[in-house]
């Protein structure tokens, strides 16, 4: 079966995210008031061939640990695994 998995990789909260700070600042400059913070991460959509949704999910998690996220600086979340 074919699946689509959506992975979200974010800089760890304890690590300064200058990109997020720049985005928050720019939004303020544009007149959007009330932006008190922003963080910039990365989204990866995977197309997978797997026996079940559970297998697809397990595979995607391993991919996050091995390559998609850096365990030193980033956290990841598997947002969705849907049948494609």
């Amino acid at each position: 079966m074919r699946f689509r998995a959506r992975v979200r990789v974010m800089p760890r909260a304890t690590i300064l995210d200058p990109q997020g700070q720049a985005v928050a600042h720019a939004l303020g400059e544009l007149g959007f008031s009330g932006v008190t913070g922003a963080r910039v991460g990365r989204a990866v959509e995977l197309e997978l061939e797997a026996a079940s949704a559970e297998a697809a999910r397990e595979g995607a998690l391993k991919m996050c640990e091995r390559l998609l996220a850096n365990p030193v600086t980033e956290d990841f979340a598997l947002d969705a695994v849907e049948q494609a």
Binding site: P11, T14, P18, Q19, A22, L67, L68, N70, V72, T73
Partner: protein, 221 residues
């Protein structure tokens, strides 16, 4: 002394590293990243550049190049391994060195000479310097901010594994002004500044030249 300079797709300081190694009297050879052996090299250099276009994260894809298996075995055997700039990023991604290199604190790509202090002379690449000596070498990177958790930073300090520290200004926001580190066995060194671009007076500085002068005794642990 034979020094291998590994070329990844996107390496751009490979020729400079080869010239610096040859200038130091070594037999310097290129090794393509798809190669599975290092041609009997005594020491290996992972040069600067933008391997695989820095896709995903700098060094994240290069880490899985076929040659990296031989590079890891070379390091495990206690042989000298130097990662410069992108090479340092690859070594961290490959977990041959601790920590990570992330986007510069100021977001800008920084390309200018910096001053670093040699903190340790007990690595094969810094044996010809004295601790406390200050060197001028250029940096050229967008993701050179060294980060690690507090426990790792404390361990690096305690074991005197910080090899280079920025002085007179930190170009990227690196934690504890760290510009270069070594592994526990002290045979693997990574640094963000470019010693190969400071290897001849004609280039503005030859402070980095001695990093490529390796003693034969350091070739085999």
């Amino acid at each position: 002394m034979k020094i291998a300079v590994v070329r990844f797709p996107g390496s751009n300081c490979d020729a400079d590293a080869l010239a610096a190694a040859a200038g130091a009297g070594a037999e310097a050879v290129y090794v393509w990243h798809r190669s599975t052996d290092l041609e009997g090299a005594d020491a290996v250099v992972l040069p600067g550049g933008f391997s695989y276009g820095d896709y995903l994260r700098p060094g994240a894809i290069a880490r899985f190049s076929p040659v990296m298996r031989a590079v890891a075995a070379h390091a495990a055997a206690g042989r000298p391994l130097l990662g410069i700039c992108n090479g340092f990023q690859i070594l961290c991604e490959a977990q041959l060195l601790p920590g990570a290199l992330v986007r510069n604190g100021g977001l800008s790509f920084v390309c200018r000479p910096v001053r670093v202090r040699v903190e340790s002379d007990t690595t094969p690449f810094t044996a010809r310097y004295r601790p406390g000596q200050c060197l001028t070498m250029p940096v050229a990177h967008g993701a050179g901010r060294f980060v690690a958790d507090q426990a790792t930073l404390d361990l690096l300090e305690r074991e005197e594994r910080v090899v280079f520290r920025y002085v007179g200004g930190n170009p990227n926001g690196a934690m504890r002004d760290i510009a270069g580190i070594t592994n526990q066995e002290r045979n693997v060194v990574g640094l963000m500044p470019h010693p190969e671009r400071a290897s001849e007076a004609l280039l503005g500085s030859n402070d980095g030249a001695a990093m490529f002068v390796l003693a034969a005794a350091t070739a085999v642990a």
